[in-house]
Structure formats: structure tokens, C-alpha cells
């Protein structure tokens, strides 16, 4: 990347960009899509600062200053939901990376192309499932009346049933497990493609030098996986103030007694505003989440650039 920028200075515009023209043409549909879907709606951000009245239109509605944001920080819950959102996302990032890389290495080392494909599909399958279905799978396991865990597993171990949906302390572990099970396949696919891109001669050379399997993974595979790991982590950092609404709402069956460990920003906003239908206040929440996410991505990228320049996103 760095080398490409060092082109001779005194070249005409057409000469400089002409040879990239096909690439730019290929870029156009994506750019249009981004513009329509991601840039134009940004004008709607002003809704967060207005007291919207649709009979006179958004632009004519009176300004509300920062009053739409107040409710996000007004109660003790503000600390709780922020903490939950951040900690869960951190745990998810760590688990998804570790297990993603682990599974990618296992799958790539398993013999046979067909088996590889099969494992890949199996591990990706939960990613394609709707959260509503996942919620029911979790319920089938943990239902207090009829669940597999309470009816079969715990009695077999000689333990008494647990009131899963009434006791909050179990859920950080359950949700982290469910999330990892569900999304690990996606990161795994990216890592697999990176591993497939590694020149096999590197492994042969390492083997000739007497490196065992573990040393090959440690010194050849892992270094090659650093760039995708950084990219995926940076993307996750940008969404650290968002949470998978389905996971925290459906998988917990919206059980109130679990809120101390399951209430996150998205579910809080949903529960608070579902009956009011105040779009200014919900836009304010979205605005807050994106601003924090944006700042975090910039600072994380800055850190990465300081540490290893070629791995930074920009």
C-alpha cells in the first residue's frame, strides 16, 4: 500500500488515474448504495435535536437543544446499561476472536476438502438463524418448568433445579456462550480465507527448519492472521455501544428479573419508548451510540497506527 503512493509526481491526471478507471467504475454501484443508504439519512440526525411535530414537518419543528438526550443519563440505570453494553461487547470481542481463530486453524488442518466444507457450513449455520429461533432454543434448554437442563441434566448430576429466568447471575455466561455459538462462524470464515492465502512454501520451509505443528501455527499462521484480527476488532470497537437487540431481548425472554445483567442501551431505549413512540428521543439514543462508536474507532485506529502502521485501517 505504502509503495503505491510513491508514484512519480509529474504525471497528468488521466495518466495517473486512467489505469484505475475500471476499478473506479466497479466502485460506483457501491458508492451509490452507500450514499443513498448511509449518507442521505444522516440529515435525519437533526431529529435528535428537535421536538418533532409532523403536522408542521421536521424542518419547521422547534429546536429542543439537548433535552432529548436527558433521559439517557437521568437515572441510575444509565450506569448499569452502559456497563452491561460495554462489558458484553468486550467479552464478545475476546471470545469471537479466540474461538474464531481456533476453529479456523482446526478446520484448515482437518484432512479432506469435503470435510472442511462441511465443518465450515456447520459452524456458519447458527449465524444465519433468526434470534427468535435462538431464543426458543435457549428456552428449550433453560425453561424452568420443562427445560432440558432442569428436567434432565441437573437431576442426573444430583443437583436441584435452578430458577434460570428469575436469577440474573447466570446470564453473563449464558449470553456470552449463546453469542459465541451464534456468530463465531462469521469471523471464522474470514480467518479461514486468510489462512488459505498463506503461501504453503512458508510451512514447508518451517518444517525443513524442524518446526513442529505448534511452532508452525505460532510463527507462520498467527502472524498472517493479525491483519484480519485487527480489522474485525476495529469494526467491533465501532459498534461497542450497540448491542444485538435480539440476543438481549429474545434470548432472555424479556424477563424483568434478569435486567441487572441483561439490560443494555438498545433494550432500555426500546422498553422505555415502545409505548410513547417519541422518535426524537429514540434518534437521540442512536445519535449518542454512533458518536461514541465513531470516536472509539478513530482512537483505536490511532493506537493501531502508533503500534504497527501497516495494520491500521486508515
Amino acid at each position: 500500500m505504502v509503495q503505491q503512493n510513491r508514484m512519480p509526481r509529474k504525471k497528468g491526471f488521466a495518466e495517473r488515474y486512467g489505469k484505475w478507471l475500471p476499478l473506479y467504475v466497479m466502485f460506483i454501484p457501491g458508492a451509490i448504495y452507500l450514499f443513498i443508504n448511509n449518507y442521505i439519512p444522516m440529515a435525519g440526525l437533526i431529529i435528535a435535536f428537535k421536538r418533532v411535530n409532523f403536522s408542521i414537518g421536521i424542518l419547521n419543528s422547534p429546536w429542543a437543544g439537548l433535552s432529548n438526550f436527558k433521559y439517557l443519563f437521568a437515572t441510575n440505570d444509565a450506569w448499569l446499561i452502559t456497563r452491561n453494553t460495554l462489558l458484553y461487547n468486550l467479552a464478545f470481542m475476546v471470545c469471537n476472536t479466540i474461538f474464531g481463530v481456533l476453529f479456523a486453524i482446526f478446520i484448515c488442518d482437518s484432512a479432506g476438502k469435503r470435510v472442511k466444507k462441511l465443518y465450515q457450513s456447520i459452524i456458519l449455520f447458527p449465524f444465519l438463524m433468526s434470534m427468535v429461533i435462538v431464543g426458543y432454543i435457549v428456552f428449550a434448554l433453560f425453561s424452568m418448568q420443562y427445560g432440558i437442563v432442569n428436567k434432565s441434566i441437573l437431576p442426573a448430576l444430583g443437583k436441584s433445579p435452578v430458577y434460570w429466568y428469575n436469577e440474573a447471575q447466570h446470564w453473563p455466561a449464558i449470553l456470552t456462550f449463546v453469542n459465541t455459538w451464534k456468530v463465531v462462524g462469521y469471523g471464522c470464515l474470514i480467518y479461514i480465507s486468510s489462512i488459505n492465502g498463506i503461501d504453503t512454501e512458508l510451512y514447508e520451509a518451517a518444517a525443513l527448519d524442524g518446526a513442529n505443528k505448534w511452532q508452525q501455527i505460532r510463527h507462520v499462521t498467527l502472524p498472517a492472521l493479525v491483519p484480519p484480527i485487527i480489522t474485525l476488532t476495529l469494526l467491533a470497537v465501532g459498534r461497542i455501544f450497540y448491542s444485538d437487540f435480539g440476543l438481549f431481548y429474545q434470548a432472555t425472554r424479556n424477563s424483568g428479573m434478569l435486567y441487572s445483567t441483561t439490560n443494555v442501551i438498545d433494550t432500555y431505549v426500546y422498553r422505555g419508548l415502545v409505548t410513547q413512540g417519541n422518535i426524537s428521543m429514540s434518534s437521540a439514543a442512536g445519535f449518542y451510540q454512533s458518536i461514541v462508536g465513531f470516536t472509539l474507532v478513530l482512537s483505536a485506529n490511532l493506537v493501531v497506527r502508533k503500534v504497527s502502521r501497516e495494520n491500521a485501517l486508515f
Binding site: 408542521i56 433521559y71 437521568a74 437515572t75 424452568m144 429466568y165 428479573m257 435486567y259 415502545v274 422518535i279
Partner: protein
């Protein structure tokens, strides 16, 4: 090539100009109505029939938008913010304040006295104009049974088997020995289903959101915290005993299955529900069991929120609110329209079963499952009291409903709707607190001795006192004008 193109273009232009509708003064006004109900396969057919009627009677054409139960709130928002074609639609009472403040609605006060005389004549001015906040009439109530007499609905086979004396059941406490007796014989049966074991029998005027209520069915005018009233403590403590004794499903707090479906599944004995004339027929059809009912607490009260449960509002999108009001007036007074939209076309979707042509039923060979049109949301539609009666109900059911409503004790705050816009921030926090604790408490899933103080502390931390004070101030001001 270029010539061909330009000819083509010209053709396109011509056809689009010619295809444009010719607007003239006699053009019938097009009414769009949105309701919440299940999809009907023969909807188009019925709409054609309704159009014949409305064209002849009002010089209006008519179209409906059917919104599903799971999505209606979102879709209403989308239609209202997207400025879609929409004239009249039904507003759930908890959405009303938000809709008014967002400018989604037309103030019917400007039109109802001129174009809505039929509605006022039928329902009385009190009720017809009762859906109002600070003088803004957001909608006219659907005419239905609004009083809330509630009780327990039980499977008759179990009641008979264990020789339960139904007349002995009058209070919550009376249920304990009943459950005890059945539990001894059927240890695995779930005896009481539902997530709403406290609220189904409503002895407070909730003043719309339950944060600050009036006790004794609204016979007191002091706004209090419902969750500190003796009645609430008494009920949740009792329900907790039932939960621990195994009468209530362990997952009750999070179940999304309706109580009648749980009874239908065969392992559930009873549930609590509002009980109105004709209720048993409806529930026996759903559950597939013969049922018996007993009123609990015998509290028959009438609240603003039950009368104004779903109100017919005119959307700000409406191109001509006066015409929309005229149409509403027609919908409240024309029985042909009500029959068409609720039951479909005579002879095809329903037939008369009596001589005097008031009682109807499915035609031969059609049932609820195979029906092509059977909307059956009379309680939400403008005025079911002028429509045919479904078979199995008493022929004078509408008179019974009316008597039922008239017999209820009106809350002192009947007609009062409070404006929550000044306590929006508090309500977001309070809704979260309510979601957190209420289901768990109301199903006995947690111990009220420890959790109830937590709930009240959280409510006050979320600003309950401010909401109570605001309600009290508005209520006092409203009472002073009476």
C-alpha cells in the same frame, strides 16, 4: 436508432398524460381506513361491496389497510410519518398522547359537532367527546362493552371431578382451597395461567399508565402509588404462596402463550379474564373445553382507559378531515357498513339463522378455520351495537352490553385523560422499572417481601413522585371544571 428512441419517448409521455386522472368537482373522495386485525382472504371482494355502498350514500370511494397485531404500532407510525394515504384509523389509548404531541392527528373537536352528529346522538356527548386531552379530541371510542367485571375461567370437567362449589369463589383468597384440592389429585396440572394475575381483576383506576392510580375503582380522588396499596400487597403475597405451592407455571413471568391456548393444550385448569356477556361462548370455542366462570372481587368499574381503549382518530395525513368525519359518522350509524366490514357479504360469508334476521352464522360447510371473511373485531370497529349478532350469543346482546356498561360504577376520574408530555423522561425510566419487576411479582416468581421494597425504591428513584404530583395537579384542575 435515435428517431426510434424519440418516438418511443413521445409515446411514453403521451400515455402518461392521457393516463392521468381527470380531477373535477364531482370526483368522489377516497377514504382510507386502517384497522388492527387478521388478514382476510376475501378482503378485496368485501371492499368492492363496501365501495358500492359508500359511493351511493356518501359519494366516497373506500379502501382498507389491515395491520397485524404484532406490527400495527410500527406501521401506524410509518404511515403517519411517511404521509401515506390515511384518513381514519384506530388509536390504542397508550399511544394517544405521543400521537397528539407528534402532530399525527386532527383535532376532532373542530369537526364532530358539525359532521359527527350521529355519533353524538348514539353514544351521548359525554362518551363521544371523552377521548380528549386538554380539549384536543383525538378520537371517538369504539362502541363496546367497556365495564370491567373480571373473574376466573375454569375447566368444567375438573370442577365437576373435584366437586368444586363455584359459588364459593368470590375473592382471591377463596381460590386457595380450590387449588389445594385439585393439586392434591393432579400434582402436575398447572392450575392458574397468565402473566397478569394482579391486573386482570382491576380495582384501581390506572389513570392510563399505572404510575399513580386511584384506589377503590377510582372512588377516591387522591393519586397514590399502586404498588404500596394494601390491595396490591395482599394480592402479590397470595400469588407468591400459589407459586411456591406449585399451582402456577414456573415460567409464567416470561410465557408468551395466551392463557386460552394453554388451557387448550390440556394441562391447565384456569385463568383470570375480564368476563362480559357472551364471553363463555367465545372462550369455549377457543379452548375446546366446557368452561365455568366465577366473578372475583365483584368490582364492576368504568374507567376512561377502558372506554377509550381503541378510538377512531382522523390522521393529519387526511386530505379532507371534514370528509373523514362525515365518513366516521356514517360508520357509526350505518349498519350495512358495519355488517359488511365485520362479517362480510350476506349469503357468502354469513347467513341468517333466525326469522327476524338478527342472528347470523357461517354458511353450511364453513367454519372459523375455512372462513374466507370473518374479521370479528366488533369491539374495535366504530359501532358493533348496530350490527348482526353472531349465533350463540343472546339476541339482545347489545342491550345487555349497554346495561352492563350502565350498571358499572364510574370512576371519579371518568373522562379525564392526562397529558404526560411534561414527564416523558420519567416515563421512560418508569416503564423500564415496570418491565423489570411487575411480571415477576404478578406471577409470584419472586418473593414480594424482598422485591416489593426494591420495586418501590426503583420507582421513586425513577421519578414516580413527580408523575404522581403532575397527575394530581391535572386531575384537580380537571375536577374543578366539572
Amino acid at each position: 436508432m435515435r428517431k426510434l428512441l424519440s418516438v418511443l419517448l413521445l409515446c411514453c409521455l403521451m400515455t402518461s398524460i392521457l393516463g392521468m386522472p381527470i380531477v373535477s368537482a364531482e370526483e368522489p373522495y377516497h377514504i382510507t381506513m386502517a384497522y388492527v386485525g387478521n388478514e382476510q382472504p376475501d378482503m378485496d371482494k368485501v371492499v368492492v361491496a363496501i365501495n358500492e355502498l359508500t359511493l351511493a350514500e356518501l359519494n366516497m370511494t373506500f379502501d382498507v389497510i389491515q395491520l397485524g397485531w404484532g406490527e400495527y404500532a410500527q406501521r401506524q407510525q410509518l404511515m403517519l410519518t411517511g404521509n401515506d394515504d390515511l384518513d381514519i384509523f384506530s388509536v390504542f389509548f397508550q399511544h394517544a398522547i405521543g400521537y397528539i404531541n407528534n402532530g399525527y392527528l386532527v383535532n376532532e373537536a373542530d369537526y364532530i359537532y358539525e359532521y359527527g352528529k350521529g355519533i353524538i346522538d348514539f353514544m351521548g356527548e359525554d362518551v363521544a367527546t371523552g377521548g380528549a386531552v386538554n380539549g384536543f379530541i383525538y378520537g371517538t371510542p369504539a362502541n363496546k362493552e367497556s365495564a370491567s367485571l373480571s373473574g376466573i375461567v375454569m375447566r368444567k370437567d375438573v370442577v365437576d371431578k373435584y366437586d368444586i362449589d363455584v359459588t364459593s369463589i368470590q375473592t382471591y383468597e377463596d381460590l386457595t382451597p380450590v387449588f389445594e384440592k385439585i393439586h392434591a389429585g393432579e400434582p402436575n396440572m398447572i392450575l392458574l395461567a397468565g402473566t397478569n394475575l394482579v391486573n386482570q381483576v382491576e380495582s384501581w383506576d390506572l389513570l392510563f399508565d399505572g404510575f399513580g392510580v386511584l384506589s377503590d375503582g377510582g372512588q377516591s380522588t387522591t393519586v397514590v402509588n399502586r404498588y404500596e396499596t394494601d390491595e396490591y400487597v395482599r394480592r402479590v403475597s397470595l400469588i407468591r404462596e400459589w407459586y411456591e405451592a406449585g399451582y402456577i407455571m414456573l415460567d409464567a413471568a416470561t410465557t408468551t402463550e395466551s392463557s386460552s391456548n394453554l388451557v387448550k393444550a390440556g394441562n391447565t385448569f384456569a385463568y383470570l379474564s375480564p368476563i362480559k356477556p357472551g364471553f363463555l361462548i367465545q372462550e369455549e370455542k377457543v379452548t375446546g373445553y366446557e368452561l365455568v366462570t366465577a366473578y372475583i372481587e365483584n368490582a364492576n368499574y368504568l374507567y376512561s382507559s377502558s372506554v377509550n381503549f381503541f378510538n377512531w382518530a382522523i390522521a393529519a395525513n387526511s386530505k379532507d378531515p371534514a370528509k373523514a368525519m362525515q365518513f366516521l359518522n356514517f360508520a357509526y350509524t350505518n349498519s350495512d357498513f358495519m355488517n359488511l366490514i365485520n362479517w362480510g357479504i350476506e349469503g357468502e360469508h354469513y347467513v341468517f339463522v333466525d326469522e327476524s334476521k338478527t342472528i347470523i352464522d357461517f354458511p353450511e360447510g364453513v367454519d372459523a378455520m375455512s372462513a374466507r371473511y370473518n374479521l370479528n373485531i366488533g369491539w374495535q370497529l366504530p359501532n358493533q351495537f348496530i350490527a348482526h349478532v353472531w349465533n350463540g350469543n343472546p339476541p339482545d346482546i347489545w342491550a345487555q352490553y349497554q346495561a352492563f356498561n350502565d350498571s358499572a360504577t364510574k370512576s371519579k376520574a371518568f373522562g379525564f385523560i392526562y397529558d404526560s408530555s411534561s414527564v416523558m423522561d420519567e416515563l421512560v425510566a418508569l416503564n423500564n422499572v415496570a418491565d423489570q419487576y411487575l411480571n415477576a411479582l404478578a406471577t409470584g416468581s419472586v418473593d414480594p417481601v424482598t422485591v416489593l421494597p426494591q420495586l418501590n425504591a426503583a420507582l421513586y428513584a425513577a421519578g414516580l413522585q413527580k408523575v404522581i404530583d403532575e397527575k394530581q395537579a391535572q386531575l384537580d384542575a380537571w375536577l374543578a371544571t366539572r
